[in-house]
Symmetry: C2
Subunit: 179 residues, 2 copies
């Protein structure tokens, strides 16, 4: 079965600091036409940093939800930056820990309208060197026991997709390979 | 600590079929100003349908990634529709199964630029009644053993955030409460 959609045209609506929006005409497999509303994003990098069974969480205000939420440390990739470097940079900026990051999981946050890939890394051998957040970035970092993070997800207090996916993957794999 | 960002203005850039884009001016906690690129979306509903230890997956082309990907059955909520009804409707349309859906997990796919909430339900007592996809929706539904779905995620063959989060939550909770 071939479900491929062929691009016929692309109209750039907005070219911003963190995303571009275009409306594209596509040809469907049955030769009819449709439109796709396309958010293009340069990608994100996130870090699951676990130290003594405690998870590094960042609390920050998310304007679009009108509240503070908890997420693992993350940020968008700079132009030309590779995801591993971005993950290590964000980890250091937001938590104060320098760590060796190993690839853990990539996720597509909402494939219906965005091309973003969030690259998630597992931070190992983390060493505290002191936090230095960017100007205008208001957040606090805290370390929460893994079991409490799972309870917070269950209670709906943590909903961020990259955080939920990374934590449950970690827990699922730990359950499979008990030390 | 108060990290709240206060809306100063909102400029609507695009009002489409599945999303709206606005650029908002906000006041930060230190009284300086910044802009937020805001995708507003009416929300999605998804279903984790497991029948005889096999997971219902939908294969469909995702234009923004330029390839077919696997996801649990899902779709956007219609105007005024509640998430449970949307989940049950999408489940029936995409898999042909009518099921009683229980709330499982809500996720925020990418809180930096979208307000979307994806509501994930667990389908129970599913009964086959025959699939009837929407016109212009090209997809196939298949049932894959849970262990193979986990292997596909590990190999990077399944990246969709709602699917990864739901599967690992299911596996993590199953490991905790063995039958």
């Amino acid at each position: 079965m071939n479900f491929t959609e062929k691009q016929l045209s692309s109209e750039l609506i907005y070219d911003g600091k963190i995303l571009k929006l275009s409306v594209d005409k596509v040809e469907l497999p049955d030769k009819t036409q449709s439109t796709r509303e396309c958010v293009r994003h340069c990608g994100g990098a996130a870090v699951l940093l676990i130290k003594d069974e405690k998870v590094a969480l960042v609390r920050q205000h998310r304007y679009l939800y009108g509240k503070d939420i908890y997420e693992i440390p993350a940020g968008k990739m700079e132009e030309g930056e590779d995801p591993k470097s971005a993950a290590e940079r964000e980890c250091e900026e937001e938590t104060g820990y320098r760590a060796e990051c190993g690839h853990f999981l990539d996720i597509y946050p909402s494939p219906g309208y965005t091309d973003e890939i969030i690259h998630i890394y597992l931070a190992q051998n983390a060493e505290f060197i002191g936090a230095h957040t960017d100007d205008g970035e208001f957040l606090s970092c805290l370390f929460v026991p893994l079991s409490e993070v799972v309870a917070m997800i269950s209670r709906g207090e943590i909903c961020d997709a990259k955080t939920v996916a990374a934590i449950y993957k970690y827990v699922a794999e730990k359950a499979e390979k008990p030390v």
